[in-house]
Symmetry: C2
Subunit: 427 residues, 2 copies
Amino acid sequence: MQIISNPERGEWATILERPTQTVNDIEAIVTEVFNEVKSNGDAAIKKYTTKFDGVDLESNVVSQEELANSTKLVSLELQKAIKTAKDNIEAFHAAQKTSRVEIETTKGVQCWQEKRPIQKVGLYIPGGTAPLFSTVLMLAIPANIAGCKEIVLCTPPNKKGEIASEILYAANLCGVTKIIKVGGIQAIAGLTFGTETIPQVYKIFGPGNQFVTVAKQLATKYGVAIDMPAGPSELLVVADETANASYMASDLLSQAEHGTDSQVILVSTSKEMLNSVSTEIETQLEVLPRKAIAEQAIANSKLIYVENDALALDMINEYGPEHFIICTKNEDFYVDGILNAGSVFIGDYTPESAGDYASGTNHTLPTNGFTKAYSGVNLDSFLKNMTFQKISKEGLLNIGETIELMAEAEGLQAHKNAVSIRLKDIK
Amino acid sequence: MQIISNPERGEWATILERPTQTVNDIEAIVTEVFNEVKSNGDAAIKKYTTKFDGVDLESNVVSQEELANSTKLVSLELQKAIKTAKDNIEAFHAAQKTSRVEIETTKGVQCWQEKRPIQKVGLYIPGGTAPLFSTVLMLAIPANIAGCKEIVLCTPPNKKGEIASEILYAANLCGVTKIIKVGGIQAIAGLTFGTETIPQVYKIFGPGNQFVTVAKQLATKYGVAIDMPAGPSELLVVADETANASYMASDLLSQAEHGTDSQVILVSTSKEMLNSVSTEIETQLEVLPRKAIAEQAIANSKLIYVENDALALDMINEYGPEHFIICTKNEDFYVDGILNAGSVFIGDYTPESAGDYASGTNHTLPTNGFTKAYSGVNLDSFLKNMTFQKISKEGLLNIGETIELMAEAEGLQAHKNAVSIRLKDIK
């Protein structure tokens, strides 16, 4: 693996560039599917499920029987693990509850802010070779704590028309209210417009490939909110000479196995550490089942030597990694100074996979530098802030003139009049 | 004004339909401006400012001299009013600060959530006949409390190349770091890509016309976050026989004067109240300077009679108004039951214009039914949630096996390995 040594500040952007995504090419097909689902509902859903997933479904709604069966098909050991993870995720997200913020800004002017749940949410769980049931936990648990009334999960069926038992088990455990066998663009279109079987929702959550990403972006044009724009997974590790090279290598590889477009970066103030990690990666890579994928991702990855921590921190904040591991003796410098990151993992015994599954934090995080403006999924993602106010006669006497003056200066006489007409009665 | 009596539930959607917006027609021009600003920076900005605002600017950056002068040009009376409003808005938004959420989810597994400021934000303030300086307060004050480092304000110049003194005064008072004389699509493009004079930002806030709205949506494709999709202003009032008809009429008119596409709705369980308000509106309308605008908006507005409060609440939640005024004897029924609204105003002495200017709540709110999923602007709009975790040896012993089992079941061996390699050393 190539080590980049002491790059100039002006080169950082180029070195840290993400693998490009070509979005424009697939907009046409996404628009087509949306239009058809909007016009033809379930008939269009059925057509595209046959076309893209290769299965012709009688019904796309998961039955009570399928749900009941799923429990039998998940080993007791895995059920226990899922429950342990659920407990931690639940504890961390329940701790994020806030009480109403109330303040009398001026005598007689009572203002408060309350969070109320988004009533209908859609959770998208991608298909693929392995069942990504952990994402079910990460989305359904906070939705439930928030108090969302309808929690609709969409995930593509396999060629036999089935959903993985682990996904059904997790969905049932975490309070999903309806599970639909539908994937890709047609799933997002269904949640956007609603069909005979798919409820229309107000916000769509969850990861997906480029088609799903573009579909979610199109959904926003129809007034549906989304959790965040998605992109390939990424990890940045900062490590000094005190870090454990084999641990660092294992973390970098755990991100690299996600996909060939995953990006992993190691920044270090120690050239020895960079060399050791590089050697370790090659060794550990050999025995991985997903070696072919990880190898390609590793080929795009970067090992970067920088002279000091201050430079390293600046570079990391410019990149804004989704996952950020800190293994340095002065970890507080990075913990306090990191401005742009999705989730931060500190110390030798905090592998990134802990946050993917079971520590309690959420694994649905902004990528592609979006950490600069977006939060990862958290309890608030399923709530809306609403404000309330109640003004007494005394309160209006206190702020009435201020409102009148400002409204007049903005040329909005009717705004002023709504105050004046009341003040006349009070005075 | 027409009164709709007891509409069937099936008709609600049609009755409550918002004035349509045609977005597709203007995408071409928005894309053109974006492409040109991306390629040519300030040269393109200058070109479009000449074209759209009819002024050829030497420099588009507001100077210290212009700032200093602005204070002299705002009356002391208005300065005082602006400061009073600032105090209240500051108090309400500062009260929204939260401390870090920290929890040990499992012995040895420490997880916490912290909010950190978005470093660079852009505030867009529309131009027009009157200076909308109140929006400067609503955006710059929370940005400052959040700790955003760069707060860039863009607003179009008039034909003399000037910005209204009230806007400059408010921007200076509230800690805006740079003010640029640029409006419309080219302002949003400048904030998205950055130019020689306009800093590139991570999130763009503020209202605007359809061109600005589409431009903000396009900005999201380039990874810039936005506060929310904007739309014409709207107000829904629920009033029973105990309400004051002339107050209700004044509130409805205060929204109606915003624009011909504003929507105002009165829902009541009292036919007498509907009639009285209708009469009052006609009387009050006559003397308004913006009568022509308000009249058109009122023509599209609806007075709706419903038989009982439960039906009224259902209808209001289906509509999801930006502003919601409650003037009924059983106000708690509505306060507790409202699920979808931007800001709620309770009782006879709480005109909506209080929240527009000076009570302390924010006036940048979701419209067009987006209250179902979006929050109004609040302190959190300028912050990101980040999560942190630190696991001890004991902690990893406690949750390690859970992670291993789940990673294996998802077919992600390298994720498992990142735990196993550590557990081997600990055990």
